[in-house]
């Protein structure tokens, strides 16, 4: 049984000046429980819009989504979200941030403490429990965001460029962490990224989207995520299929970008 079903979703924005943006057109994705999906696409192809719809922040103009058989109508703790940055609560300590979800559902204190302590150890922030979040580095803050999301034990985790604001080294460590957490927790994860390498590494499945209207362009099934769970990610990148796949997808996106540029030049 497929857990998350995105069926024929469309989204159009009516602009105040009378124009219309078709951000998504007939997007369908079926995700099985525990699958790791990465979504890649040129800027403006509707990735964030899609994720916001799945999270329940936006109602689509067409189509239905179901999770475990019931329809998605709004935000819910069953679908956790990790943002690029700025979504931690700076008025709370690291511990309070991670314990936010459990507090909202009035989880007993002892149980909450156990969950929070465990998750902070998992993401390697055991020594920073009482720190204010603004005292942490960007990478540490994203680890807090991951732990906060996991503390709620959601069925699906949605990540919108969670590592986009990090430097290359921190980013690589965080990619390993995401893989490790995925394997350990068995969560269904949708991850949006701008980086082709990241999409290859962090996707059992990879969807490339095309813009105007935003739609699914191509889909891949990849072995790299599974390999990366135990191996060094740099080793994974040396896999004979990795380079060719990267080049293929890069030139695909490059072509789309060029098409967009050409179109805007024509219309100008």
């Amino acid at each position: 049984m497929s857990e998350l079903s995105i069926d024929n979703i469309s989204m159009r924005f009516d602009l105040p000046n009378g124009g219309v943006v078709q951000a998504l057109k007939n997007v369908s994705i079926d995700l099985k429980s525990g699958e790791l999906l990465s979504i890649l696409g040129p800027s403006g192809c509707g990735k964030t819009t899609l994720l916001n719809i799945v999270a329940g922040f936006l109602a689509p103009t067409g189509g239905v989504m179901t999770l475990n058989g019931h329809q998605i109508k709004g935000p819910d703790a069953e679908r956790g979200m990790v943002f690029q940055q700025g979504a931690l609560f700076e008025w709370m300590s690291v511990r309070e941030n991670v314990g936010f979800g459990p507090s909202m559902k009035k989880m007993p204190k002892a149980e909450k403490k156990q969950t929070v302590d465990h998750l902070l150890n998992v993401v390697g922030l055991g020594d920073f429990k009482e720190k204010a979040v603004y005292e942490l580095s960007g990478g540490m803050q994203q680890r807090v965001a991951l732990a906060r999301c996991l503390a709620n034990d959601p069925d699906v985790i949605l990540m919108d460029e969670p590592l986009g604001a990090l430097d290359a080294l921190t980013r690589e460590k965080m990619q390993s962490l995401v893989l490790k957490l995925w394997k350990e927790t068995g969560k269904t994860i949708i991850l949006i990224t701008h980086s082709v390498e990241e999409a290859l590494l962090l996707g059992e499945r990879l969807i490339v989207m095309a813009p105007r209207p935003g739609r699914i362009h191509k889909e891949y099934n990849l072995p790299f995520a599974e390999l990366g769970v135990d191996a060094d990610l740099r080793e994974v990148k040396k896999h004979p299929d990795f380079g060719p796949k990267r080049e293929e997808i890069l030139s695909m996106i490059w072509d789309m970008e060029e098409e967009i540029m050409g179109r805007t030049e024509e219309s100008a």
Binding site: M104, A132, R148
Partner: protein, 423 residues
């Protein structure tokens, strides 16, 4: 004239202190900022120079002391003071072809004294010696012919002062002052004023201090000094608290609901630019000059500021924080309690600081217009009786309290919202 001298001394100290202090300081301080080579244009590298701050304040007191002849300063630092004591000048009168010279003795006394004068003696011709007294900073027409054998109405006329021949309108400098012949031919003695300010306009610092001590023990107009300041403070705090209690929820409602936003936006946007001072007459008409009127005024002064601050606090919340909270299972009420309110606290504190400042200014102004107690009333009444020292001490205390309020608010802010600006 003496204004330019004050300015010149002020600029002189500013420049001299700058060169001296920076010369000393550049040799001693060595920290990160001092290693920055680009400081001009880097605002973060501009820090208030502590020495400059101290010298700046001392300079103000120095100038104040210099130009009021303060006893706190050694007298060689004083600006030339006004003449005081006894002096004299001669006048020559001519009548019926004969001329005679007599002496006018002038006693220049402080304004609050009134010396008794000896009877003038001497004067061998028809002109007789005179004795007059004149207060500092004032001048006096000399009734020279009152005791003369030939008076002005009989044809006598002053033709020279200290041997220098004069016509009406001429001025002759004499020891301790100057003599001007009036249009009607009467000498007018004006003592030398020096460069100092008349105490009526600017009392010396120690006078203000003495007055403060005196007021602190005796009170002013039946209320102690603390009473006056306390009443002003009480009005501010009461008005501000009422304004905050109503304004903050109003601002939240405006930030969270279309209906509230639509309903109150025109009112708030209209009231925001109306200075609270402009409401004083209306409030007095409606509520009288009593406490109710004043607190209503301060309530109105604080209300819009707090409402706008709370509204800004809500609209300033990063939408991904709200989204994150919803995805973590928070209810609307929990979003309010754990996200929107803490996120808006920094804005609300900023608003509260502004509101307290405005309220403090407004209460003083309202008390100037009408009050029986309060700091503003104190300086208003004192000014009517020309008690400049009370006016000055009132202004200084008002400034200190206003500054103290702001400092307290800042400390509270630092303690209560340490995350301000760190999101």
């Amino acid at each position: 004239m003496s204004g330019l001298i004050v300015l010149a001394i002020y600029v002189g100290i500013f420049v001299a202190a700058f060169f001296i202090i920076t010369r000393i300081a550049s040799r001693t301080t060595r920290d990160y900022t001092s290693l920055k080579t680009v400081t001009f244009g880097d605002e973060s590298a501009v820090r208030p120079n502590r020495a400059a701050g101290i010298i700046s304040i001392l300079t103000i007191f120095l100038l104040w002391g210099m130009f009021t002849g303060s006893s706190l300063l050694p007298s060689f630092l004083h600006a030339p003071g006004p003449f005081i004591g006894e002096t004299s000048f001669d006048y020559t009168a001519e009548a019926n072809g004969q001329s005679d010279t007599a002496t006018v003795t002038v006693i220049v006394h402080p304004r609050e004294e009134n010396p008794t004068l000896d009877e003038p003696t001497g004067g061998d011709g028809f002109a007789k010696n005179d004795i007059i007294s004149v207060a500092q900073w004032r001048s006096k027409l000399v009734p020279w012919d009152k005791n003369d054998d030939i008076s002005k109405s009989d044809g006598s006329q002053v033709t020279a002062i200290n041997g220098q021949s004069v016509n009406p309108g001429d001025t002759v400098n004499v020891t301790g002052g100057s003599v001007t012949i009036s249009d009607k031919g009467t000498p007018n003695f004006k003592p030398y004023n020096g460069w100092q300010m008349e105490p009526l306009y600017l009392p010396a610092p120690e006078t203000v201090v003495d007055r403060t001590i005196k007021l602190a023990s005796e009170g002013f107009r039946g209320t102690s000094l603390y009473g006056h300041l306390g009443w002003s403070l009480f009005r501010v705090v009461a008005g501000f608290l009422l304004g905050a209690i109503v304004g903050i929820p109003l601002g939240y409602a405006m930030g969270l609901s279309n209906w509230f936003r639509g309903w109150f936006d025109p009112i708030v946007e209209f009231m925001r630019p109306v200075p609270p001072l402009a409401l004083i007459p209306l409030v007095i008409i409606w509520a009288g000059i009593g406490e109710v009127g004043k607190i209503i005024l301060l309530f109105l002064a604080a209300l819009w500021i707090m409402a706008i601050a709370a509204r800004a606090g809500v609209s300033g919340v990063n939408i991904s924080k709200v989204h994150a909270a919803y995805s973590l299972g928070a209810s609307k009420w929990q979003i309010m309690r754990y996200v929107i309110i803490p996120n808006s606290l920094p804005e609300i504190f900023t608003g509260a600081r502004v509101a307290m400042g405005v309220c403090w200014g407004t209460v003083v102004a309202a008390e100037l217009v009408a009050a029986e107690k309060g700091a503003g009333m104190m300086i208003m009444v004192a000014s009517k009786f020309q008690n400049t020292d009370i006016v000055l001490l009132g202004i200084i205390l008002i400034g200190i309290i206003g500054f103290g309020i702001d400092m307290l608010m800042r400390m509270a802010e630092k303690y209560l919202v340490p995350w301000k600006g760190r999101g």
